[in-house]
Each structure stands twice: as C-alpha cells, then as structure tokens.
Symmetry: C2
Subunit: 294 residues, 2 copies
DNA sequence: CGTCATTACGGAATGCGTAATGATA
DNA sequence: TATCATTACGCATTCCGTAATGACG
C-alpha cells in the first residue's frame, strides 16, 4: 500500500508539474521526492507522470489518480477532527427518552437548551414510558431519560426537573364542574374511574392509591397512557387522575378540577442517566447544563 | 499524519476487539500492533479504544473514526484499480468530433462498435467541421475525428471509412426531376447554385470545382453546412451538390439526382487521429477496432 | 497463576540529504 | 553548458520481533 507522504508528494508534483518546486513546497530535496513518485507508480501499477527531462506532465491515469489522492488527503485530514469533536462531546448523537406527559411541557425548552450547548450533536427522541426508559438506559440504547420515580439510585444519577399537582379530569358539563371548590374524596366516590395500570404506569398508580381512597369497584378502565385516559374522559367513560401537564393536551370536552391536597406537587419528573456516562456528548451536556427551566 | 498500516491495525482491533486475534489476522505480533494504535491515538488526538486489561471496547470517537478509516481504506484500495483501468484504456473519456453528414450515416454503427470495445469509456461527441476537428486534435481537445481530407499525414494517422458519390439536390417538382437519366453539366448551366464555402468547406468546394464546370455567376449562396444547403434547396433557392448521405437528412421537398460521372465515389470520410496518441482509451480502440462498417 | 495489553531492547529496513550522473535543449 | 530528473551512498529514524513487565481476575 502507498503512503500519505507519497500521495502528498504526487499531488505537489502534479500541481507544480516540476519536481524541484514541488520538493521545495514539501520542504525536502528533489531526490527523495523523485523516488517517492517512482515507488507510488510501482505500487499503483500505472505511469502517473510523463517526465521528459525538460517537462513533467500528467498522464490520463495520473489525472484520475490525482482526484482520488486529493479525496484521500481531504478525508484523512478531516477524520481526526471529527473524532476529536466527538470525543469532546461537541459532535455525535444523544438519544433521549421522554414520557408522553413530559413531551407536552418540559421537552421543548429542554431541547432548546441542549441544542444551545451542543449545537452539532444530533438528537434522537423516543417517547417511552418510564420502565422502557430504564431498560434503554441500562442497555445503552438511551443516553438520557425524562422519567418518573422510582429508579435505582446506585445505577442512575438524576435531577428533579419539576413537580406538579394531580388534577381530576372530568367530562365537560359534568356536575362536579359546578363545585367551585377543590374536589374531595367523597365527591367522586360514586363516579366511574379510569385508572392507571399498576404495572405499566406504576408511578401514577401508587401515587393515586396512596393519596386517595379509591373504590376499586368503580374502576371501569385500566390504561397506561395519559392521552388515552383523557380521551376516555372526553368520551364520558368516567373521571381520571392526571398530572397538571395533561391540561396542555388541548383535548376538547374535558375539564380539569383541582383536588384537595392535590397542590402538594407530588408528581415528579426527573432527568435520569446512567452514572457510567459513556457518551461524551452527554458528559459535556451534564457539565454545562443548568437544569433551570421554569 | 497517520499511516495506512495504522488504519488497518485499528480496523482489525476494532473488529476483533482483541489485540491478539487482530495481530494474528494481520500476520504480526501484538506489541507492534499495540504501539501502532497508541501512535494513531496520539496523532488523532482522541482515545479510540478503551482497553481494560480484560476487554477492548470502542469509544464513541473510535466508532466514528472506524467509519472514516474504512472509507479511507476502501478509497485507497480502489484508486490504483481506477488508475490502471484508465492507463489500459478500459476506462476514461474519448472525445470524438464528427461532421454533420457523418452523423447521419456512419456515426451510429461506429459508436456501437466503440462501446463494444470500450464499454466503460465515456464518449464525448461534438459536431464540428473538418477544420475545427483538425485544430481540436492538435490542441488535444479531441481524440478522434470523423472528417474529410486534406490533412497533414505527418501529424495525423487516418483510416478511410467510406467513399460516396455526389448528388444534385433539387427542389421537388423541378423540371430536372423529369429527366430520368444522370444529370449532365449542360443540364444545370442556367440553374441558380448553392455552393460550398471555399474556406469553411474547402474539401467539397475543391471537389465540385475540380469535377464540374461551374458558372460562378450562377452562385446565389455560399454556405458551409450540408444541412443549410439542403434547407435552401427545399426553399427553392437553387440546386446544390451534396454527398449521397445527405439523402438521410429526411428533409421534405427535396429530390436527389445522380450526376454523370458522380458514381466514382469521390467523397471520402476518414477517421483521423493525432499520431502522438496520448489517450489510452484511443490506443486501445485503435488496437482492437476493425474499421469494417459497411 | 493465567491471560492479555504494554514497555524494553536489539536488529533490519525504510527514507532522508548530499553528491554524483545522465539526458536534453 | 545549464537545467532538471534520476541514481549512488552514508546516516538517522522507524518499526518489527523477541523478551520482560505489569495489571487484573
């Protein structure tokens, strides 16, 4: 295989069409340059330069090889730069998981802040429930998650992004909308309930069950996505407990009522990541970001 | 700058994720491979492999650099092949000039034969009068011409492609079309004549003047292109002497009549090229072609 | 103590620069 | 004879392989 020095030598001679000047440009003497070209031609297996003792000229093969040589040199020059950019986290790919609800509120401002810090980093977004994010972070398929507790603090580092209160979602024109005060447990004891899945949306399920006296006989649906919940409420299938950010969904026919004791901002959203940070882009992000979105 | 050996070493290690096996694959021992990678990393300016004494793993920068390294190796492998193909004339570019009349007859079959011999050669076609072809061949802007004599035999080599007879082009319904015999000089002594330019189409001009008694007072137009001539005949501006292949033009309103003594096939078309053949594709063509198109 | 990457060291090969040669106008 | 590419030769550097070292399970 030829060497980059040989390529550089050939390019210089091809451009100068003069061994002496080319050698000068390369800060060397003619003889080694002459030998470089000879070796290169032998390796390539074709005459690249036609040299009459008076003038130097590119052959057709030499013209074609010159293009390839320039491409090679350009690629070789750029490759380390790319690698260093990625190593420093200024380039690369950041894969972020987020829950449907966080997509409505925090995701936009967060992405804006990230792209300010890492302008050349490609960002891969996936809507995933917390459990899927956790396993993605463990296998390395994900770099950062926007998810809800609980998660293993030994494996994951995290930052609380915000807390919000739970609301009661009811159909428009439902009697409870006339209440004009916080909804109490006895107010919905006879209402059909749309509940969270205790497995798929364990966080919400536990939160609701812990905070409110739920009659399980009233549960008419068990779902895992907040969007599904609100849609079912709009279809008048029952009432549901949702985080405040569900109000951003903008679904028609649903009203959101405050819950008594619901203003304790119990619903948390965290940015979480594997403590063993492997992606330099994530390392740089964590170094520079202020988790200060309102 | 790094070397191709370093790149090959890095690719092998990145694929095997094991210095020992990679070294084996490269027919060398581990220590120099280890040093190659170290040097490469130093040159690149980023850690490419994370090596724990138990396992080897690519860093993100390493993954990106691996792609670049593969591209470089592939390009470097292909470049000499391309150069050799062009040197042997199996690839490259062949620039051919042709006269308008030859475009109607010989050009098609000739191109078919050429592309059979040089399937990977790009062919550049330009319609040019003989004089333009000659200068193109001299400056190297053209590799091969399809042109008419005379040309300098010391500079150009040539091959007679075919001879054809001259015809008299007359407008439809012209009295001469009733003749039903070869046209003689006295038949057109009073006809308006469309003649060739003595400078731009010297070959035809000389040929006609030498063979036929022309009354220059009858000349109403002097043009250089056969297509122009035939168009003027169709417009009933006069009669003209054209080579037989002009019948292929398919212009409406023109009849072609045989000339007395015109069947001596005096109009020649030659393939001509500079004796100093520089284009390998032309060299290969001349080696393999049978100039045997009917 | 076995595995596997890295450092230590001696020898061969590569490749530079200086000097000589050759070829051409 | 001047110019310019090429060959000749001596020396420094590079880079391999073998051997020794070091770290980790």
């Amino acid at each position: 295989m030829f060497t980059f020095d040989q390529l550089a030598g050939f390019i210089a001679v091809a451009e100068e069409l003069h061994f002496g000047r080319a050698a000068e440009r390369l800060n060397m003497t003619q003889p080694p340059l002459s030998r470089q070209i000879q070796r290169l031609e032998k390796i390539v297996g074709a005459e690249l330069l036609e040299r009459d003792n008076r003038k130097v000229q590119l052959t057709h093969a030499g013209q074609a090889f010159l293009e390839e040589a320039r491409r090679l040199m350009a690629l070789a020059d750029r490759a380390p730069v790319t690698a260093r950019r990625i190593a420093s986290g200024r380039s690369g790919l950041l894969r972020i998981g987020f829950t449907a609800a966080s997509g409505l509120s925090i995701l936009g401002p967060l992405l804006e802040e990230i792209s300010g810090i890492l302008p050349d980093v490609d960002i891969d977004l996936q809507e995933l429930v917390t459990g899927e994010q956790i396993s993605g972070l463990l296998t390395g398929e994900l770099d950062l998650g926007l998810a809800r507790p609980p998660f293993n603090d030994e494996v994951f580092d995290s930052h609380l992004l915000y807390s919000e209160s739970m609301m009661l979602a009811v159909p428009e024109n439902h009697p409870l909308t006339e209440l004009n005060r916080e909804v109490r447990a006895e107010d919905f004891k006879d209402e059909p309930l749309i509940m969270h899945s205790p497995t798929q949306a364990r966080y919400f399920y536990d939160l609701v069950v812990r905070a409110l006296p739920i009659s399980h006989s009233n549960v008419v649906h068990t779902v895992s996505q907040i969007l599904t919940m609100v849609s079912l409420v709009a279809a008048k299938r029952g009432v549901a407990f949702v985080p405040h950010s569900a109000t951003f969904l903008g679904i028609q026919g649903v009203r959101f009522l405050p819950l008594q004791g619901g203003d304790n901002e119990a619903v948390e959203l965290h940015a979480i990541w594997n403590r063993k940070v492997e992606n330099p882009a994530l390392a740089r992000l964590l170094r520079d970001i202020e988790f200060s979105m309102e």
